[in-house]
């Protein structure tokens, strides 16, 4: 090994790395393929105003994956980055009591933003949250934050079973798998939606949420309706008792990344 390299300071080693002439593979003509795809796929993407429920309903019917129809498949796995959804044929005999998932330490929105490293996306459709928590997990790729916002049940925002909240929004940082959802064909429904170019996954029915927290792994039985989507580098999980069209409206009102 080179004495010269070993004697280098970090700064000099960085400069040496920067000066390396790497043999990169030749860059393909991406623009041709991308623009061709953009043109061919555009009709499937409908830009709609979410304030128009009827139009949402039309889009909602566009792509539906009902578990009953997928009974042949042994397992369906959807990886959204921070959350993995697995659909399995049948639920186990024993499940935990329904509850709200562990949320971490109560914090202010400002503190949560520091933990998350960005402004916390608050859905304007729900207004300021009643509770905010933050949790940080040391994962293989480094520390990963999870921020949870909750809104008390109120008129138009019915209570999620076994909680006193009407909506709970979890924001998972990055793409480290912090949560895994086991959904069961015999009791659950998984539905895919694309609205304004954003892919949403809607689950209803009993499922098991396996969550990596700073206190270890938590297993939570969830009965509420859950909407999952990616927002930039974050995975969002909105739990409510609302129908999908309402949840989509709330999701669309979330602050942009």
């Amino acid at each position: 090994m080179s004495e010269r390299l070993r004697a280098m300071s970090d700064e000099d080693l960085g400069a040496a790395l920067s000066s390396l002439d790497i043999e990169w593979p030749s860059t393909p003509a991406l623009h041709t393929a991308v623009m061709a795809r953009g043109a061919s796929e555009r009709p499937a993407i409908v830009h709609l105003r979410l304030s128009r429920p009827k139009r949402i309903m039309l889009i909602a019917a566009a792509t539906v994956l009902l578990l009953a129809g997928a009974a042949v498949a042994a397992k369906i796995v959807i990886d959204l980055g921070g959350v993995v959804v697995e659909v399995t044929p049948s639920r186990p005999g024993i499940l935990p009591t329904p509850s709200i998932a562990p949320t971490g330490e109560p914090v202010t929105l400002e503190e949560a933003a520091v933990t998350l490293g960005r402004e916390v996306p608050v859905p304007s459709g729900l207004g300021p949250p009643d509770r905010v928590w933050a949790d940080e997990v040391f994962a293989e790729k480094g520390d990963v934050a999870r921020v949870t916002l909750a809104w008390h049940a109120r008129q138009g925002l019915p209570e999620i079973s076994n909680t006193r909240y009407g909506a709970v929004l979890m924001v998972f940082e990055g793409d480290t798998d912090l949560a895994s959802k086991d959904l069961y064909e015999d009791t659950g429904v998984l539905q895919f939606e694309r609205v304004d170019g954003v892919d949403y996954y809607w689950t209803t029915g009993t499922h098991l949420l396996e969550l990596l927290t700073s206190d270890g792994v938590a297993y939570v039985r969830v009965e509420g309706n859950v909407l999952l989507w990616r927002d930039g580098l974050h995975t969002m999980r909105l739990e409510t008792s609302l129908p999908m069209t309402e949840a989509l409206r709330i999701a669309a009102s979330t602050g942009t990344p």
């Binding site: 390299l5 920067s18 390396l20 790497i22 490293g117 790729k141 480094g142 520390d143 954003v198």
Partner: protein
């Protein structure tokens, strides 16, 4: 082409191109793809180390970015926003294909016809370059990724943090740990 020509031949700013693309000007988005195609592909290749996967990931990322343009903040730089999407797409693909053993980094061949190397490159002896690249290839993928973004692709600290999807402080400490491991590999007897 549907897009408007740049004023007096000056290239349009990314934000302006993104704004035009968002309003349906496909030529503006094509300009962005051309502008960042190479670095996007290289980011994807650093993660997947497979040319085909990298091409697919970069292409998919550009398509996703196109549809995500309404959520792009015009007060923030476009390049890290895009590269973040590229790196995410590449990681998802690498994870789903479980393809961990990709191509190794290699030094570019220098022929007589090539332009004169930069003073820094010239200062780094051929043997040192090969040693350094061998050490890079011996690192775990996350270390190689952070060093690759920062030094091989020349991203800023802030951009590196964005592409990794972590805070800048986290990216700095991750880079520092990666450099320490690189140094440890260099210390190993040949």
């Amino acid at each position: 082409m549907k897009g408007k020509a740049p004023v007096e031949g000056r290239p349009l700013e990314d934000v302006e191109l993104a704004r035009r693309a968002r309003e349906g000007d496909d030529a503006a988005y094509e300009d962005l793809v051309k502008r960042y195609g190479q670095i996007a592909f290289r980011v994807a290749w650093l993660v997947t180390r497979d040319r085909g996967e990298a091409e697919d990931a970069a292409q998919e990322a550009f398509v996703k970015a196109y549809y995500a343009l309404p959520r792009f903040r015009p007060d923030s730089p476009f390049r890290p926003w895009l590269l973040k999407i590229v790196a995410n797409e590449a990681r998802n693909r690498a994870r789903s294909t479980r393809r961990r053993q990709g191509l190794a980094l290699r030094a570019a061949a220098v022929s007589d016809g090539d332009a004169a190397p930069s003073p820094e490159t010239a200062a780094l002896a051929v043997a040192d370059r090969e040693t350094l690249i061998a050490a890079l290839n011996a690192l775990p993928p996350p270390d190689r990724e952070v060093i690759g973004y920062r030094f091989l692709l020349g991203l800023s600290e802030s951009e590196t943090a964005d592409v990794l999807g972590v805070r800048q402080g986290t990216a700095k400490s991750r880079l520092s740990r990666a450099m320490a491991r690189l140094r440890a590999v260099l210390e190993e007897p040949a």
